[in-house]
Amino acid sequence: MEQLATDTARGGDAIDRGAPARGAAVAFSGVTKSYGAFHALKDFELEIRPGEFLTLLGPSGSGKTTSLMLLAGFAFPSRGHVLINGRDVSKVPSYRRDQGIVFQSYSLFPHMTIEQNLAFPLETRGMARGDIARKTADALTMVRLDGFHGRYPDQLSGGQQQRVALARALVADPPLLLMDEPLGALDKNLREEMQLEIKHIQESLKLTVLYVTHDQEEALTMSDRIVVMNEGRIQQTGTPVELYERPKTRFVAEFVGDVNIVPGRVETAGARTCFRSEDGAVAMACPPGWAPDGEAPSCAAVRPEKIAMDMAAGPQGQGQERGHEPEPGRVRVDGRIREAIYLGQMTRYVIDAGPAQFVAKRMSGPGERRFQLHDEVTLSWFADDFVPLR
């Protein structure tokens, strides 16, 4: 049985403290959330391990914010259960859950000083005044804002407000930290700095974090695991490497990073299976187990940085067969450079290969050859890097 913290003479509202103070375990079990006929979340199943940094990634309307709202206690599931440390909190209102939340707009109380803002979650938990002063000072130190305690939120910059919001979410040592696109209002440099800072704090405190964002780079940077969502459903769950290197659906491949999609299908000719694109320009001998039975891929994908480029061998002229015969382990395509955009650390090429277009990225490494507009090139990549997608 869980112990309810007793109300003190100060009238603190009851907070439920579950198991150990660090890193709650979270589970969504068959959760559906509907608003009338509209389903924001459908059969949502997810487990978050204690101390894990999990990101919900997806476009607007994908249901990621709804999931956070359910976990926070601002909304209740239409069906299914939300569990924290094994306890069903589906109908428990927000102020009875032990958590810290960083909101998109920070929601710092404008009529209170920074110190009063930080003290608030401690006061509601009935902490003694001396302890409150000590903890708020520690929190300010943690986000490197010592000396700011007497200021008001509107006297701080956006980045400083963000740090105060983070400190306020953490000051009461919650086992669970929820973050709803907290870095959206910051400029690029500040955002990257804050991403690392948040990650370090999380690692040292061993907190469970549920992070919501639409920025895939941010998700890749910070997460232990990412859940890609679309239209209320989970598309794929995995580590950043898994999602990037081995996406399972076209949506995930396109949402996380740049990708070249080649529509086509698997053809079987006797003992050999190969994947052929619709326009015939791309053909690959399928490695064993590439396309598991029962799941016919609709396309295959290759990341731009996996594509090697060479000047085309042999004379090219009109009527020349452009396709290459499928060879094991590699895929080759011929094309002509249509765009070459120099980006400093790399060059981005757009290559016309028949009706299709490929994007390739080559780092400006030592000895790297730079191709020019209209060069005839042969693209090649490993079969392992050519991922089948549903």
Partner: protein, 607 residues
């Protein structure tokens, strides 16, 4: 043990009230009920009775209406009233638009001063301003003395008690009601639009006519509707300044009630006036239904809420001590704004054409607005036993007379008592209603017109209706009757201002507090209340001023009871022009000043 359980179950029940923040539970909608019941009982019912009286209840005839339209020149009075309404509106528009423009284009200290010169008259008692004009327009008054001095005439010209006098008074009273809505819209315009038009090749005049002017139309509409409706229902000023042959509809109604004792005819006339008002509103698409930050064409909402906000901000600027950290930022932004305005100033069409003209015009307009009050102020210190300007000597005798005269001091006490009581009641009912409307916007569609009805309906109609209703309930001449009557308008003002405040309140802050373990009650107490208390106090100030200065309804239902200060003033103005009134008027000038200071102190807490 049991108390703990009882406490937690009560808390649980209360928690149910706020349980789903995304869709607030129906319980909070019930908060609108007390205010609605109050208005239904003490306003709608009397209005219904009035209507029944007008159709000759218990027999249903249209005799009274027939009487109105066919007999005794009443129809002509109606026509004259509507004509006067249009005339006053037109004059106010012509005079007020350039004034609003001049204020909008100014900045810094000048702007603050100009705003003050518009807002203070707006908040000043109607009686004080009317009295000032009586003094100024008389045969021995300032206007005539100036005309004779300038050699434009040999003998005093009759201005007082003519329609000219009534018009001058009405325009003076109405001018802020035109200027403030237009100014409010102009302030909200994107400053970069006119330069953008110019960058596309529009000359200054064309940019003004095709870009700036059309965007100010909502303000023009607001102001015009407001002024017209107030003008056709206007009672005090035309009655005091106009001649016997220039009677307007409101005066006719009053005569029917008090002298001719023909209540039915008065009721019919009142409803005709109401119909004209309602017709005008419907025709020009006024929308009173939105509670959340809406641009209401009727203007009442924006007038009051906008003025409250403007008044508070301008006082903040005039009085506040600039602190070190914010002072630099404010000065810097002020400089930037001043520089930007200067750039606009330079290229501004009217300014470029004749800068001196616009400045002179603005100065004249503002002088016109504040002059009457200034004259009364000076005269109140006069040692002459009769009204004269300029006074030959200074003395405090009129102030001494006031405080020595029991009838004056008890009137003051009565006014304060009634105002405080009705303000308290208005705030209680109005805040709950505003909260309910904020949480349930769809409720606003039906409730808002009802809650604003007491200040939309012409005051003379309200007076007659309440008179009829309160007679039956024995409330004539009682303190309770006065308090109830003033609470009606008070609720309207409180609802307007608190709704506007709540619309600007970031509800995500409540959510944040809940996430940090604060229950619904704690959240309201520590987060919501401190952040909206500015609006609550502003609403209370407006409700107080409304009650304190209110004279028409008070006169109707006051009977032989204890008089309020405005009632006594009005009586004295009608029957004996006593210089003591000048002293009273000057003291009443303190009311808007105190009100503005009150607004400033509450605004300070809101960071």
């Amino acid at each position: 043990m049991t108390t703990a359980i009882a406490g937690s179950s009560a808390r649980g029940a209360f928690a149910g009230l706020f349980q789903r923040l995304g869709s607030p539970s129906a319980s909070s909608a019930l908060l609108v009920v007390p205010a609605v019941c109050f208005i239904a009982a003490f306003f709608i019912l009397p209005m219904g009775d009035l209507f029944l009286a007008s159709v000759g209840y218990p027999d249903i005839t249209l005799e009274s209406y027939r009487q109105f339209f066919s007999q005794g020149g009443y129809f002509q009075v109606l026509v004259r009233t509507v004509t006067a309404g249009f005339a006053v509106t037109g004059i106010c528009l012509v005079l007020g638009f350039p004034l609003a423009y001049a204020i909008a284009m100014s900045s810094g200290a000048w702007r603050t001063v100009m705003l003050l010169l518009v807002v203070v008259p707006y908040l000043t008692s109607l009686l004080v301003r009317t009295y000032a004009w009586i003094v100024m327009l008389g045969d021995g008054g300032v206007i005539n003395k100036t005309l004779i001095f300038l050699g434009l005439t040999d003998a005093p010209v009759q201005i007082l008690y003519t329609s000219l006098g009534a018009y001058i008074g009405m325009v003076h009273i109405m001018l802020p009601f035109m200027v403030l809505p237009i100014l409010s819209v102009m302030n909200g315009l994107d400053e970069r639009l006119v330069p953008a038009a110019k960058s596309m090749g529009a000359g200054p005049v064309r940019a003004f006519v095709r870009v700036f002017l059309p965007l100010t139309v909502p303000g023009i509409k607001s102001g015009s509707i407001l002024v017209f409706i107030l003008a056709i229902g206007f009672y005090i000023t035309p009655a005091a300044l106009g001649g016997l042959s220039d009677v307007l509809l409101s005066q006719l109604i009053e005569i029917q009630v008090s002298q001719a004792m023909n209540f039915r005819l008065a009721a019919a006339a009142a409803f005709v006036l109401l119909l004209v008002t309602a017709g005008f509103l419907l025709l020009f698409g006024a929308d009173f239904t939105s509670a959340r930050g809406g641009l209401i064409a009727g203007g009442t909402d924006r007038r009051t809420a906008g003025v409250a906000a403007m008044a508070a901000s301008l006082v903040r600027k005039t009085v506040s001590r600039v602190s070190a950290s914010t002072g630099v930022a404010r000065a810097a932004s002020g400089l930037r704004r001043a520089a930007w305005r200067r750039a606009l100033y330079r290229r501004d069409p009217l300014m470029r054409v004749r800068p001196g003209l616009v400045i002179a015009y603005a100065a004249a307009g503002l002088f016109f607005l504040i002059l009457p009050s200034l004259i009364v102020l000076v005269m109140s210190f006069s040692s002459d036993p009769f009204l004269s300007f300029p006074p030959s000597g200074l003395s405090l005798r009129w102030y001494e007379d006031f405080f020595a005269d029991r009838s004056w001091t008890s009137a003051l006490g009565q006014s304060v008592f009634v105002a405080l009581a009705s303000t308290a009641l208005s705030c209680g009912l109005g805040i709950m209603a505003a909260y309910a409307l904020d949480r349930h916007p769809r409720l606003g569609r039906y409730m808002m017109p009802l809650l604003l009805a007491p200040i939309i309906v012409p005051i003379i109609v309200v007076g007659v209706a309440l008179y009829g209703g309160f007679v039956d309930w024995g409330l004539i001449g009682t303190d309770l009757g006065l308090i109830l009557a003033h609470t009606l308008g008070g609720i309207s003002y409180v609802v307007i201002i608190v709704c506007a405040t709540l619309a600007g309140f970031d509800r995500r802050l409540e959510r944040a507090a809940l996430s940090m373990g604060a229950g619904p009650v704690t959240t309201f107490r520590r987060i919501t209340l401190p952040l909206i208390q500015y609006g609550i106090v502003a609403g209370a100030i407006f409700a107080f001023i409304h009650s304190f200065d209110e004279v028409v309804v008070a006169t109707f239902i006051g009977g032989f009871g204890e008089k309020t200060l405005p009632m006594k003033m009005w009586e004295d103005i009608r029957h004996q022009i006593n210089p003591t009134i000048a002293a009273v008027s000057t003291m009443l000038l303190l009311v808007p000043v105190l009100g503005l200071i009150g607004l400033r102190f509450t605004a300070d807490r809101r960071k």
